[in-house]
Amino acid sequence: MEFKSSFLLIEDNLIDQLVIKQLLKKVLYVDPVFIANNGKEGLQWLIDNSKYHKPLIILLDIQMPVMNGFEFLNEYNKLSIEFKKDIQVYVLSSTLDPDEIIEINKNKAVFKLLSKPFPIEEFRETFCINTKAS
């Protein structure tokens, strides 16, 4: 199967960037994957490019310098509904802090919380069910 969606990866860790990019490429044949090194870059990319790349899936890390995942989500929630149409946010984090997990799940912009390392099979399944249902 082929993905029609584009992918934006917001992640500061270079190794994780490489790993996620390779997994998407090898398992789901997604290429290219757009990469932003922190929330601020991600937001800028959205404003500049999102309209050309819909539907869009965002993979968002939480702990990042400059603008972290939570700050990104706050800014993202302020954007118009029209702008956010056909955009899905997956949070990708290795956190074990229960407070943080609750905060992520509470955020209405977050479609699903995935824990690192990027669980590609789980992601594919939820994605398929989701696309079939819609």
């Binding site: 500061d12 860790n13 270079l14 190794i15 994780d16 490489l18 790993v19 996620i20 390779q22 997994l23 090898k26 398992v27 702990q63 990042m64 310098p65 400059v66 290795s94 956190t95 074990l96 802090d97 943080e100 690192k116 390392p117 990027f118 590609i120």
Partner: protein
């Protein structure tokens, strides 16, 4: 806090003083009551003795008068018997005045029909208080009485002699009678004065006793009250202290929780990276690509190793006592540089050293943490795009303090981040550091009561200056 300490120092003696006051008051109260009761009892005995004295004297004069008119030898016998009572008292008084307490005085009092159980009190009062005004007055009256008794005795002897020789005329009888009546009248006055004086003294003592009792009881009540109020105050203070401590403890626990979660996240992230790398390695067939992945795995592990040693430094810095010892800055720098050479690009950097100060007195562990972290930052954030990368180390003495300067021409710090670089977990690039390094440096510098300052320009380079006080600990 300082005020509280002063209060603590004062309040301990306070309580002891109060307890002492209560104790002394009680002891005094017991003593005063004991002696007052003794005095009052002795006074009662004296009044009692006086009544025997005066009754016997009156009986004696009655018998003498009968004898004067009837010449009945029986009356004479009764007279001499009754007269022994005031005479015994007189002997006791004279003996006590001259020799103090002895058997003769006691015999005298017994002859005076005093009860033998009263003797101790009676003699004690006489011996110790004979100069006190009311008793001295009473003794004076007693002495006057005794003198009259002597005269009375002489008259009795004269009457007895006349009757024995049958030379008693009617005029003699009249003459004797008037003399007896005169002496009796005077004795009456003396006896009344004696009783009145003692009674007056007794009343005075009683009033004094009441006042003393009230005074000491008030003292005790007040002391106990203030003791309790101090104890209650102390309890409230210690309760408040405990509450504050509890709150601090809760806060500390919460901070510890946050630290554990943050640390576990940072410890986990290289592992999850590693897991991801293994996954993509499994999907890869190209051997050179696999080798690249292995290199990344190695990096990931190095990063985790670095993080663990940062945490260890953090904990050592927090827990270990400051130990002042001679430290060689030169050795510390050389040691740190050789340990940091494994970092990427480290070998391409030129190190220059200008050490005007080498041996100093300070804490070796903290200095090692400071120097190692500053140098590793300078190496990690070197600017690869520059032709020549350098790190320059200087030590010198200035403004009564040792200074360490680490300067580099690396990527520098953006102005917006300068305020945050010393915060815990702050980092602009978590691929390079844990976000703990400069935080630990700052804590270490504060531990040795030093200072750290930074001047930096983005893309040009950074300079960190550490000030180590020479006279630390004053």
């Amino acid at each position: 806090m300082h005020k509280l300490n002063v209060f603590k120092k004062i309040r301990f003696p306070n309580v002891f003083v109060l307890i002492l006051i209560v104790f002394i008051s009680c002891a005094l109260l017991i003593c005063i009551n004991f002696f007052t009761i003794k005095i009052l009892s002795a006074n009662r005995a004296y009044v009692n003795g006086e009544s025997h004295y005066s009754k016997a004297q009156k009986d004696a004069s009655r018998h003498l008068i009968s004898y004067l008119y009837t010449a009945d030898p029986n009356q004479w016998k009764l007279y001499t018997e009754e007269l022994k009572v005031p005479q015994g008292d007189g002997i006791a008084r004279k003996t006590l005045l001259k020799a103090g307490d002895n058997e003769i005085a006691r015999q005298g009092f017994l002859a005076g029909r005093n009860h033998k159980d009263d003797l101790d009190d009676v003699i004690w009062l006489f011996v110790h208080f004979k100069n006190v005004s009311f008793l001295a007055k009473a003794i004076h009256e007693w002495e006057q009485g005794d003198l009259l008794i002597d005269q009375f005795f002489i008259i009795g002897t004269q009457i007895h002699a006349k009757i024995q020789h049958k030379a008693l005329s009617e005029s003699d009888q009249k003459n004797f009678l008037s003399r007896i009546n005169k002496i009796s009248g005077q004795l009456n006055i003396n006896e009344r004065n004696f009783s009145n004086t003692l009674g007056e003294g007794t009343r005075k003592i009683k009033n004094l006793l009441i006042i003393m009792n009230i005074f000491f009881i008030l003292m005790i009540v007040l002391s106990v009250c203030s003791y309790y109020s101090i104890m209650v105050k102390r309890l409230t203070i210690s309760k408040k202290e405990t509450e504050v401590k509890n709150e601090n403890l809760l806060l500390a626990n919460h901070e510890l929780d946050r630290f554990v979660y943050s640390a576990s996240h940072d410890l986990r992230s290289p592992i999850t990276s590693l897991k991801g790398l293994i996954k993509i390695t499994q999907l890869e067939d190209d051997i050179s690509q696999i080798k690249d992945y292995l290199e990344l795995m190695h990096k990931s592990l190095v990063k985790q190793d670095q993080f663990i040693s940062d945490i260890i430094d953090y904990s050592k810095n927090k827990r270990k006592q400051i130990v002042m010892e001679p430290v060689s800055l030169k050795e510390l720098f050389e040691e740190s540089i050789s340990q940091l050479m494994h970092i990427e690009n480290a070998t391409k950097i030129t190190f220059t050293k200008e050490l005007l100060v080498d041996q100093i007195e300070s804490d070796g562990l903290r200095l090692r943490i400071i120097i190692s972290n500053l140098l590793s930052n300078a190496i990690k954030y070197a600017d690869n795009s520059k032709q020549e990368m350098f790190i320059s180390i200087k030590t010198y003495f200035d403004e009564n303090a040792h200074k360490i300067e680490v300067t580099d021409n690396g990527i520098g710090i953006k102005d917006e981040f300068k305020d945050n670089i010393f915060e815990m977990y702050f980092g602009t690039n978590k691929n390079k550091g844990s976000g703990l390094g400069l935080y630990i440096v700052k804590e270490a510098v504060e531990n040795i009561k030093g200072e750290i300052s930074v001047s930096s320009q983005s893309t040009i380079g950074s300079k960190f200056i550490v000030t180590i006080p020479t006279a630390y600990g004053i």
